[in-house]
C-alpha cells in the first residue's frame, strides 16, 4: 500500500465518527431543511405550494444547464460556454420565430441542434486539437457573445424588429412555444419544472446506472486507463460536450419561452449559477465529485435561499452575501468535518 493513502487500520467506527458522517453526508439537506422551516415560520406565504412551484420554476433553467456542466465535469473537463450557449439560444429561438417565421415545432429542434453544434465545435477543439477545455470553451463563450448579436446588428429581437436592411420582421412568437415556459401541468406544476425533472432523472440514470455513465467518470478520472481498456474516449468526451450544449440550449429555450423576446445577454450569471449548482452538488451526500442529483439539489438549495430572502425583504446585496456564506458553511461541514479522515 502506498504510505500516503492508507487508512487507519482496524478501528471500528466510533460514535463521533457516525455523527460526523451524518453531518458530512447530510450537510446540505440539513441546511435546506433548516431554511425551509425558518422561512415558513417567519413568512407563511413561503410554504404555499404555488410558491414552492415558483421556486422550482425559477431554478429549472439553472438546474438543467447545471446538469450539463456536471457531465462535462465528470469527464474531467469544464464547459465555460454554457451561459453563452443559453443566451444565444434565446436569441436563436427569437430569430427563428420572429425573423424566419418558424413555428414552435420547427424552432425547438433548430435551437437544440444549434446547442449540439456548439458542443461539437467545443469537442473538436478539445478532443482533436487538444486545446485545454477551459481555454476552448472560454473562447467559444466570447465567440457566442458576439455571434448572437450579428444577425440583428446588436438589436434585441422582439415583434416588429427592424432588420439591418431596413425592413420589418413579420413573424411573432408562436403561442405553442410560449407554453413551454408559461403553462403548467394540472394548473400546478410548470412545464419547465417537468422538463427539469425529466432531465434530472434521465441524466441521473445515465450517469450513475449505466455503462456509459461509468465510462464518463472513468474518462474524467484517468483518461489513459480508460483508453487502454478499449474505450473510445474521444467519442465519450464529444458526447459530454454535445450533451452539455444541448442542455444549455434547452435552458435557453425555456428562458425564451418565459420572456417571449430575445434580449442581449452575456449569460454570465447563468454560467456562474449553474457552475455553482454543480459545485455545491459535490457537497450533497458528501460525494465530493460531480453528480447530477447533487447539482439539482444544489440549484434548489440556492433557489430556496433566494426566494426566502426576497420574501423577507433582504436587499439583493445581502442575498449574494448570504448565498456565499451558506455555501462556505455547507462546504466547511462537508469537507471540514471529516478532514482527519482523508
Amino acid at each position: 500500500m502506498s504510505p500516503v493513502t492508507e487508512n487507519a487500520h482496524g478501528e471500528t467506527p466510533r460514535h463521533t465518527d457516525v455523527v460526523k458522517d451524518v453531518v458530512r453526508r447530510g450537510a446540505v439537506f440539513i441546511l435546506l431543511a433548516l431554511l425551509v422551516v425558518g422561512f415558513s415560520w417567519t413568512q407563511p406565504a413561503f410554504a404555499n405550494i404555488n410558491n414552492l412551484m415558483s421556486i422550482l420554476q425559477a431554478v429549472s433553467v439553472v438546474a438543467i444547464i447545471g446538469t450539463g456542466v456536471t457531465v462535462t465535469l465528470a469527464i474531467g473537463g469544464f464547459d465555460l460556454s454554457v451561459g453563452a450557449v443559453a443566451a444565444s439560444a434565446v436569441m436563436a429561438a427569437s430569430y427563428a420565430m420572429i425573423v424566419l417565421g418558424l413555428n414552435a415545432y420547427q424552432t425547438v429542434p433548430v435551437v437544440l441542434a444549434f446547442g449540439a453544434l456548439v458542443g461539437l465545435v467545443n469537442a473538436f477543439l478539445i478532443v482533436r486539437l487538444q486545446v485545454p477545455d477551459l481555454l476552448a470553451t472560454l473562447s467559444m463563450m466570447f465567440l457566442l457573445m458576439g455571434l448572437q448579436l450579428i444577425p440583428t446588428a446588436g438589436r434585441s429581437i422582439s415583434v416588429g424588429l427592424i432588420l439591418p436592411d431596413g425592413s420589418t420582421a413579420s413573424g411573432s412568437y408562436d403561442p405553442m412555444f410560449l407554453m413551454i415556459g408559461r403553462s403548467s401541468l394540472f394548473g400546478l406544476v410548470p412545464l419547465a419544472v417537468v422538463l427539469m425533472l425529466l432531465t434530472a432523472v434521465t441524466l441521473y440514470i445515465l450517469t450513475e446506472r449505466t455503462r456509459l455513465g461509468r465510462l464518463l467518470y472513468a474518462t474524467g478520472g484517468n483518461e489513459l486507463a480508460t483508453r487502454l481498456a478499449g474505450a473510445n474516449t474521444a467519442r465519450i468526451k464529444t458526447f459530454a460536450y454535445v450533451l452539455s450544449g444541448v442542455l444549455a440550449a434547452l435552458g435557453g429555450v425555456i428562458v425564451a419561452a418565459r420572456v417571449g423576446r430575445g434580449d442581449v445577454s452575456s449569460g454570465a450569471s447563468l454560467l456562474m449559477d449553474s457552475v455553482a449548482a454543480s459545485l455545491i452538488g459535490f457537497a450533497v451526500l458528501g460525494l465530493r465529485r460531480p453528480n447530477v442529483l447533487g447539482t439539482v439539489i444544489g440549484a434548489v438549495f440556492v433557489g430556496v435561499l433566494l426566494n426566502g430572502l426576497t420574501m423577507l425583504n433582504a436587499p439583493y446585496y445581502t442575498q449574494d452575501f448570504i448565498k456565499g456564506a451558506v455555501l462556505v458553511g455547507a462546504l466547511a461541514l462537508t469537507y471540514g468535518v471529516s478532514r482527519a479522515k482523508s
Binding site: 500500500m1 504510505p3 482496524g10 455503462r211 461509468r214 465510462l215 478520472g221 474505450a231
Partner: protein, 492 residues
C-alpha cells in the same frame, strides 16, 4: 504457423530510436520471455502489439493475417490482451475496485447497458474468483497500492478471451506468494493453448515460466535462447557485458546506532518490536503484501504516526510530524510507485532529470532563492554518470526515460546530498539486473549513514543488505542471526 509474427518493426520517439528492425514470433500455447535492460524497447514493442502506438515501420501478422491494431480496443477484440507496466493505467481514482475490474465490460457493446450495484459486484466477484485473488471490491481504487493494482490488472486481463496475453512486468511489486499464484495461472493458460508474452527483470519468473527467451538491446534483437535457458548467458547478452561476479562486500563492523525503535507498534493491535540500524549498515525488510513494510518506513518519515513506542535518531528522541521535519533531521525516503511519489508530470516545469533530483535540495543548492547558477544541471549530470542513467543530458525530461532509468533518477535524488538515514521503498521496481548492481553499489558506497530498504523480493533483499529482517502482521521477525550469507540463493 506462428500465432503472432512481427518483422522489421521500428519505432522512434522524436530522435530516440526505441526499436530498430526488431522481430518476434510467438506460437500458440507458448510462453515467450522478452528480456532487455532498462530502455531496451520492451514496453515499446508491447505498446505496438497492443495498439497504443503505431510502429514507424514493420509488419505484424496474427494467425497469418495482417495485424495493425488501431486502438487497445481493436487489439482486444482480436484477442491480444495486455497488462501494461505502469500500474497508473489500471483503474480510476474515485471509482471502486469493482469498476476497475469491469472497465472492459463497460466498453463492450454486448454487455447490458444498465447497471446496478448488485450486478457490478457480482460480475467483479466473478472476475476476481477466476484469477483467485482477494481484493476489497468496494474500496476506492486510489487507495490501492501498487501490488493490488497489479492484481487488478492481471485479473482483468485474464477475464478476457485472449489468444495472446502480454504481461509487462506483472510481478514488479508482488511478493513471492502472489507471484507463484500468477505462475500457476500462466501455466493454466498455456495448457489451454493461450500464448503469453512475458516481460520481467526477475530471473525467478523467467526460470519458472519461459519456454523461450528473446533478448533486446538498444532496440534491436541481440539473441534468443530456448529451453533449457542459460540465464547467465542470457543476461550477459542482455546487458552486453559479463555480470560482475563480485558480490558487494558485506561490512563486518558498523558505526553508532542511527535509528533505534523501541517497543514500536505499527498499529494498536500489532505486536511491539525493536529495531536498530547502524551507521554504514544496510538493512532490508521483506514480507508479503500488506505486511507493513511501507507503514514502517512512512512512520519513520513523518507520514504516519507509530501507534506506540519510541524512536531515537542518533540517540535523541525523534518524532517527525511531516516529511519536512524528517528531511531536516536527515531522514529521507524514496517512495514506492515513483509516478505518484516522486515525479512531476510531463510538460510541466520540474519534469527534467535535473529538477527531479534537485527538488528536495533547492534550499541548499540555491541559498539566495534565485536559480541562476545552473547547479542542478551539474549535479544532474554527475548523477547520470555515477548511476549510469541512460540520458543525454540532465535537462532531458524524465518521461523520456525507460522505467528503470526513471527509478535510478529517483535514487539519485537522495544520493545527491548526504543524509543520516536513507529509507527506500521498493527501490528495484522495474530495474534491470545491471542497473540494480549500479544502484546497490551506490547505496553501499556510503559508510556514514544507515539504510533501511523495504522490498517484497527476498532475492533482492539478500543481494543488497547486510541484514535481512522479515515483517509479518505488522511486526518484525528478526532473523539477524540467521545465516544471511548462507541463505543467498542464486540471484541476479
Amino acid at each position: 504457423m506462428s500465432l503472432l509474427v512481427a518483422e522489421h518493426v521500428s519505432h522512434a520517439f522524436g530522435s530516440t530510436k526505441a526499436l530498430t528492425d526488431s522481430h518476434l514470433s510467438v506460437e500458440a500455447g507458448e510462453v515467450v520471455a522478452l528480456m532487455g535492460a532498462n530502455g531496451a524497447g520492451k514496453s515499446t514493442l508491447v505498446k505496438i502489439l497492443s495498439g497504443v502506438i503505431r510502429p514507424d515501420a514493420g509488419r505484424v501478422t496474427l494467425n497469418g493475417k495482417p495485424y495493425a491494431p488501431e486502438s487497445p480496443a481493436d487489439a482486444a477484440t482480436r484477442g491480444v490482451v495486455t497488462v501494461h507496466q505502469s500500474t497508473d493505467v489500471v483503474g480510476i481514482p474515485g471509482l471502486t475496485v469493482a469498476d476497475a475490474l469491469l472497465l472492459q465490460h463497460y466498453v463492450e457493446k454486448r454487455s447490458p447497458f444498465f447497471l446496478s450495484r448488485a450486478s457490478v459486484r457480482r460480475q467483479a466477484r466473478r472476475v476476481l474468483d477466476e484469477a483467485g485473488f482477494h481484493l476489497p471490491l468496494d474500496r476506492d481504487f486510489a487507495e490501492l497500492g501498487a501490488a493490488d493494482r497489479q492484481m487488478v490488472a492481471i485479473a482483468r486481463a485474464l477475464s478476457n478471451k485472449a489468444e495472446l496475453l502480454i504481461l509487462d512486468e506483472p510481478t514488479a511489486s508482488l511478493s513471492m506468494q502472489e507471484a507463484s499464484r500468477l505462475y500457476d495461472i500462466v501455466r493454466g493458460l498455456k495448457a489451454r493453448g493461450i500464448a503469453v508474452l512475458y516481460i520481467s527483470h526477475r530471473t525467478a519468473d523467467l526460470a519458472a515460466l519461459a519456454d523461450r527467451v528473446v533478448i533486446l538491446r538498444g532496440g534491436r534483437n541481440v539473441g534468443a535462447f530456448s529451453r533449457p535457458v542459460d540465464f547467465d548467458a542470457a543476461i550477459e547478452t542482455m546487458i552486453g557485458r559479463p555480470l560482475s561476479a563480485a558480490r558487494p562486500k558485506k561490512r563486518e563492523r558498523f558505526g553508532r546506532p542511527v535509528i533505534e525503535l523501541r517497543g514500536a507498534r505499527l498499529f494498536p493491535d500489532s505486536a511491539p518490536f525493536d529495531l536498530v540500524v547502524r551507521e554504514g549498515e544496510v538493512v532490508a525488510v521483506t514480507g508479503v503484501l500488506g505486511a507493513g513494510k511501507s507503514r514502517l518506513l512512512s512512520s519513520l518519515f513523518g507520514l504516519k504516526r507509530l501507534a506506540d513506542g519510541e524512536v531515537l535518531l542518533d540517540g535523541k528522541p525523534y518524532a517527525p510530524k511531516n516529511p519536512e521535519e524528517a528531511i531536516a533531521a536527515g531522514v529521507v525516503l524514496a517512495g514506492e510507485d515513483r509516478h505518484r511519489s516522486s515525479l512531476i508530470p510531463a510538460g510541466w516545469p520540474g519534469e527534467t532529470i535535473a529538477a527531479t533530483i534537485s527538488l528536495p535540495h533547492l534550499p541548499r543548492w540555491y541559498p539566495s532563492g534565485f536559480m541562476f547558477s545552473g547547479r542542478e544541471r551539474r549535479e544532474g549530470n554527475l548523477a547520470i554518470n555515477r548511476l549510469g542513467i541512460k540520458a543525454l543530458d540532465a535537462l532531458a525530461s524524465v518521461w523520456s526515460l525507460s522505467g528503470g532509468n526513471q527509478q535510478k533518477v529517483v535514487i539519485a535524488r537522495w544520493e545527491a546530498e548526504p543524509s543520516r538515514a536513507l529509507l527506500l521503498d521498493e527501490p528495484f521496481q522495474g530495474v534491470d539486473v545491471g542497473a540494480r548492481q549500479d544502484i546497490i553499489a551506490a547505496i553501499r558506497a556510503h559508510a556514514d549513514r544507515a539504510t533501511l530498504i523495504a522490498t517484497s523480493d527476498s532475492e533482492e533483499a539478500h543481494e543488497v543488505a547486510d541484514r535481512v529482517i522479515e515483517i509479518d502482521h505488522h511486526s518484525l521477525i528478526d532473523k539477524a542471526h540467521g545465516g544471511e550469507n548462507g541463505q543467498q540463493e542464486e540471484s541476479i
